[in-house]
Symmetry: C2
Subunit: 282 residues, 2 copies
């Protein structure tokens, strides 16, 4: 499927499509050498990007937390338009929007969009659910709110630990991870938001812990409330997930993935996943 | 000085010099999109790289911690040779070696070298010393040794927090930062190793805290011991730095930078910096 990839870069105030198999980033770009940048992953489906606004809103927030100049929604829309040109309607795409510090302080940021088909493994996990392990990050739940240099709430390009957590999960036979605070409070997945159902309510951890505000979680919660399903921001633990009526890891590309196994223990399924998927829009 | 930059990439088993002002990395490279890679910064001075072996040794260790295939010392030496071709002997250079996960699991890693003059501000700090602030990272000193997914001891491309800590330091009038654990134990600088002199001994924090093993610190300590200056690995605090006879942040490019101010308080200078600089080799 590599021939379906597409890349566009922001140059001189315009989106420029460039060949996907050719280099586009300087070796001196701080996004490469320092992971000094932010990103979003936007689902391209049925020829559109139905949830783009929430992603651009979060991207602007991440950029602000890193003191990066966001080129603005119209620039991102132009980049998205450039990579979507010629994209087949029947192929789901994952579009990454990158904003980096470019060549460093004082230089213009690098902005680019890249589009590729959603990986088959992601589609499988969306359908079949996932096995998850809990992994601690060692930071108290309240700490990051007091330490802005830790970039809590920013979706940065520095995902080496997120990737290592997923590799560690796979190395012990799971699909993904749930990260926890030093005290064992639920935080988030390496690339997802944690949601659980208990007591007739949908729950998710507080963003004050330094986790990312989830775009899919926000959409699910809005629609659930509209339909009379209560929602709550709740500090929870892994024990709460074991006891829940349903647990999902939510992300923009994979959607809500049902957690069928947690730390090696099968979870009961109360039959809520279909409704969660419908409300989340996938 | 931009015309002095040089870049070389590893292609088909050979180092290939490429124009420094042209893109060299794919938008899909996991080093860019995930900060999923490792690096070293090697000083180029007097036409040579006198401390290369220690950097290549640490790079191999970082690669192992991230399950990355290291192309090996001969590949890095070839890349270094390619970027050093034509480099003027009288200009100090900072050579970055990058190893990334390339296009992802199963694909070959990306290996490249980039060389640029040492920034004037770095040379100034080496000579004039630095003002430093202490910033917590919120993790207990003993935690990272129990959690390999946090990549303690690996020098990864995911330096967004390191850069944010330095930006935060500059925003409050300092030059750099010293990071501390949840309990207030000394860890490291965002791009350096902490060393202090007290009781006739040179001290540095234990690597079991998850900090990087410092190449310049190791060289300094080896030479100090040879000359009868005792060294010790010591869990310390910011109070120990205030009380010390000398404090330095050590890095390969800047060398030992004397900390003349700590959290806004001027530090006494017992006149040890010249000897530290001489022993460290710069």
């Amino acid at each position: 499927m590599n021939d379906l990839r597409a890349v566009a870069v922001w140059r001189d105030g315009a989106a420029v499509r460039v060949p996907a198999d050719q280099p586009v980033v300087s070796a001196f770009d701080q996004g490469l050498g320092r992971g000094d940048g932010v990103f979003e992953s936007v689902l391209v489906v049925d020829g559109g990007t139905p949830y783009l606004a929430a992603h651009l809103n979060r991207l602007a927030g991440s950029a602000s937390l890193l003191d990066l100049a966001d080129p603005g929604a119209s620039a991102w829309e132009a980049l998205l338009g450039a990579v979507r040109t010629g994209w087949p309607r029947d192929v789901e795409g994952a579009c990454r929007l990158f904003l980096t510090r470019g060549l460093g302080e004082g230089a213009p940021p690098t902005a680019l969009a890249l589009l590729a088909p959603v990986p088959a493994e992601t589609l499988r996990q969306r359908t079949e659910g996932i096995s998850v392990v809990s992994l601690g990050i060692g930071v108290p739940a309240a700490f990051r709110a007091t330490a802005p240099w830790l970039l809590g709430g920013a979706k940065t390009l520095s995902y080496a630990v997120n990737m290592a957590a997923q590799r560690h999960a796979r190395s012990i036979g799971a699909d993904d991870a749930v990260l926890t605070s030093l005290e064992g409070q639920l935080l988030e997945g390496p690339t997802s938001t944690v949601v659980w159902a208990a007591g007739g309510t949908l729950h998710t951890p507080p963003v004050e812990t330094g986790i990312l505000p989830g775009t899919t979680q926000a959409r699910l919660f809005d629609r659930a409330r509209q339909q009379g399903w209560p929602t709550a921001v709740t500090p929870g633990t892994v024990a709460d997930l074991h006891a829940a009526d349903g647990v999902w890891l939510l992300s923009g590309i994979r959607g809500p993935a049902t957690v069928h196994t947690l730390d090696g223990v099968p979870r009961a399924d109360a039959g809520l996943s279909a409704r969660v998927r419908e409300l989340a829009g996938r």
